[in-house]
């Protein structure tokens, strides 16, 4: 080659920042006996009926392509599911695409709606992929920072302040990764007013919809007037414990779906066939398992939130997902220092909040998708760690001693 290899790498790829999560993965992966609260996926294995359906479809030889948008039978199931669970109506024939994870659905959405330089408002702290995906599609990510004071809920004022001439869309993700925060119908309706007023689109990442614990989940597309402006994204990864399957879904008014399908047919062709058969079973017959996983997460959330507060890390009670996002300000450390020292000293892996955006600085993300005994041990270690930092707010004396 005539030049340095770097010469042959595109500017786009060079400009992309490596994810902060990666760094922690490298640190933790090399260590033994680590208890990880850093995992962004369920601790359940996919329910057997779903696995069995996929195996059966393989045995029957379902190894060819499906329609670009996915098996019609699956799209019909998705349509029924979205209607039944969230009260939104999408035509399986031309309003739904089965994607390779919610991740790909997000990519398609941005590519289909953004022109060069269009701005997308991203409510932060946020899932690490949003900003890079917006950039890759030629858009400009604009952070809308939320804060712990109101439980990381975004307000209409915060959104309105960030709107410019170039704003094209707002990305919403509730229940949220990493804060676990969810918004109720009234709060979403206030946001809808702003969307209407400024003629914006909404990309609504509802991947954690099934993991909502206190209030009923409301889909943004179900808010009056928002259906036509919303690209609804959901998936199987979290609620059905199917992260490794890489199956997601998107639903939108048919003109948007047409545009996204054009891109999808060239980039992907279709989602894996045998897995789509598993997904049909997931939507048809997994109601009880999904509910029982949800109850299990809710109990662990209750335990973790209260215990974190007891050992001296202020933590709001999140309404969904499987994350808590406590403040570590009391320690005087930055998020990264805290996470690194905790890992080295006590072998507990958490994710520093700053990787989810500037407003995440001063916080850490702890996933409670881990068994109760592991959580108990992790919290015991965290308490010990905090004591070395001079923090001993053991409100109920001996609260942790008898775990």
């Amino acid at each position: 080659m005539k030049h340095d290899v770097a010469y042959y790498i595109s500017q786009t790829a060079k400009d992309l920042q490596p994810s902060g999560i990666r760094k922690f993965f490298d640190l933790a992966a090399g260590m033994k006996d680590v208890i990880s609260l850093g995992v962004g996926e369920p601790d359940f294995v996919t329910p057997w009926n779903i696995r069995e359906a996929a195996i059966l479809s393989l045995e029957q030889g379902s190894t060819s392509y499906t329609a670009n948008a996915g098996l019609l039978e699956l799209r019909e199931e998705i349509s029924a599911y979205l209607g039944r669970r969230f009260g939104v109506a999408y035509n399986p024939k031309n309003q739904i695409i089965v994607t390779v994870g919610a991740s790909q659905a997000l990519d398609l959405a941005f590519r289909a709606i953004l022109n060069q330089g269009d701005e997308v408002l991203i409510v932060e702290p946020a899932f690490v992929s949003y900003a890079p995906l917006v950039s890759l599609a030629g858009g400009k990510p604009i952070a809308v920072s939320t804060s712990a004071e109101n439980g990381f809920k975004v307000t209409p004022e915060q959104i309105e302040q960030a709107i410019s001439e170039k704003t094209r869309a707002l990305l919403l993700c509730f229940p949220n990764n990493p804060t676990g925060t969810s918004l109720n119908k009234a709060e979403l309706m206030e946001i809808a007013n702003i969307i209407e007023k400024h003629d914006l689109l909404v990309v609504s990442d509802e991947i954690y919809a099934e993991l909502t614990y206190d209030e009923t989940f409301t889909s943004f597309a179900a808010i009056p007037g928002m259906y036509e402006r919303t690209i609804l994204i959901n998936g199987f990864s979290k609620g059905f414990a199917m992260t490794g399957w890489r199956l997601g879904m998107l639903a939108a008014p048919k003109e948007f779906v047409e545009a996204m399908l054009k891109i999808f047919q060239y980039t992907t062709l279709c989602a894996p066939t045998m897995l789509q058969y598993g997904a049909i079973e997931a939507l048809r017959n997994t109601y009880h398992e999904v509910e029982s996983m949800q109850r299990s997460y809710r109990r662990r959330r209750n335990y973790v939130v209260q215990t974190l507060n007891n050992i001296g890390l202020d933590c709001h009670t999140p309404g969904g997902a499987f994350y808590v996002f406590p403040s570590i300000r009391a320690t005087g450390l930055t998020s990264e220092q805290f996470a690194e020292e905790l890992l080295m000293q006590e072998k507990v892996a958490v994710v520093p909040g700053n990787v989810f955006g500037e407003s995440g600085e001063g916080y850490i993300r702890c996933s409670y998708a881990t068994s109760m005994p592991q959580l108990q041990e992790a919290l015991k270690r965290m308490q010990r760690f905090l004591e070395t930092k001079g923090i001993m707010r053991d409100r109920e004396a001996g609260a942790l001693s008898q775990l």
Partner: protein, 168 residues
């Protein structure tokens, strides 16, 4: 007996986390330790919580293996001696580990544990078939336990955590 939603939640948590302390259960159920203790006491008194059994795989312990058989029993109840009376005669034997009244081709289903095949044969011929109302018995010896009370023996592929340590 009707339980309120809090009592029900406590009961379900115990079912899944039988080793959890009252304090941990309280945190999980968003209630007080006091309430948990009182509820458990009440559920035990009412015999809703029957016992806290430990499931042991004795086949892994040398010299502790046992033989298990399931016996289908046909019974003709007579006036004054119903199924319950026959059942009582049977379940009082300590080697009987479970006993159910069944619908279908036979009436009682017995699970019995013994040290040797002879011991079980002796139970069937000397104790069981000699009971007045017992018409016939069919004994099936158990060859292998795959799953018992929701627990998979040795098949715990799903128990392994295959996730990477940190993911988005």
């Amino acid at each position: 007996m009707k339980l309120n939603s809090e009592e029900l939640e406590i009961l379900k948590i115990i079912e899944e986390n039988h080793k959890a302390s009252a304090e941990t259960i309280a945190l999980m159920a968003l209630t007080s330790e006091e309430t948990v203790k009182n509820t458990i006491k009440k559920l035990e008194d009412e015999k809703i919580i029957m016992s806290y059994p430990t499931l042991i795989d004795w086949t892994k312990v040398d010299g502790q293996e046992s033989i298990i058989a399931m016996i289908d029993v046909k019974v003709t109840p007579k006036r004054g001696v119903g199924f319950d009376d026959v059942a009582e005669r049977i379940y009082r034997f300590p080697e009987v580990s479970s006993l159910y009244l069944m619908s279908g081709a036979y009436d009682l289903s017995i699970t019995i544990e013994g040290k040797t095949m002879n011991q079980i044969a002796a139970f069937v011929s000397e104790k069981l078939s000699t009971i007045d109302n017992v018409v016939s018995t069919t004994t099936h010896f158990m060859l292998k336990k795959y799953k018992h009370d929701g627990v998979i023996f040795d098949g715990g592929a799903d128990d392994k955590d295959r996730r990477m340590v940190v993911t988005p």
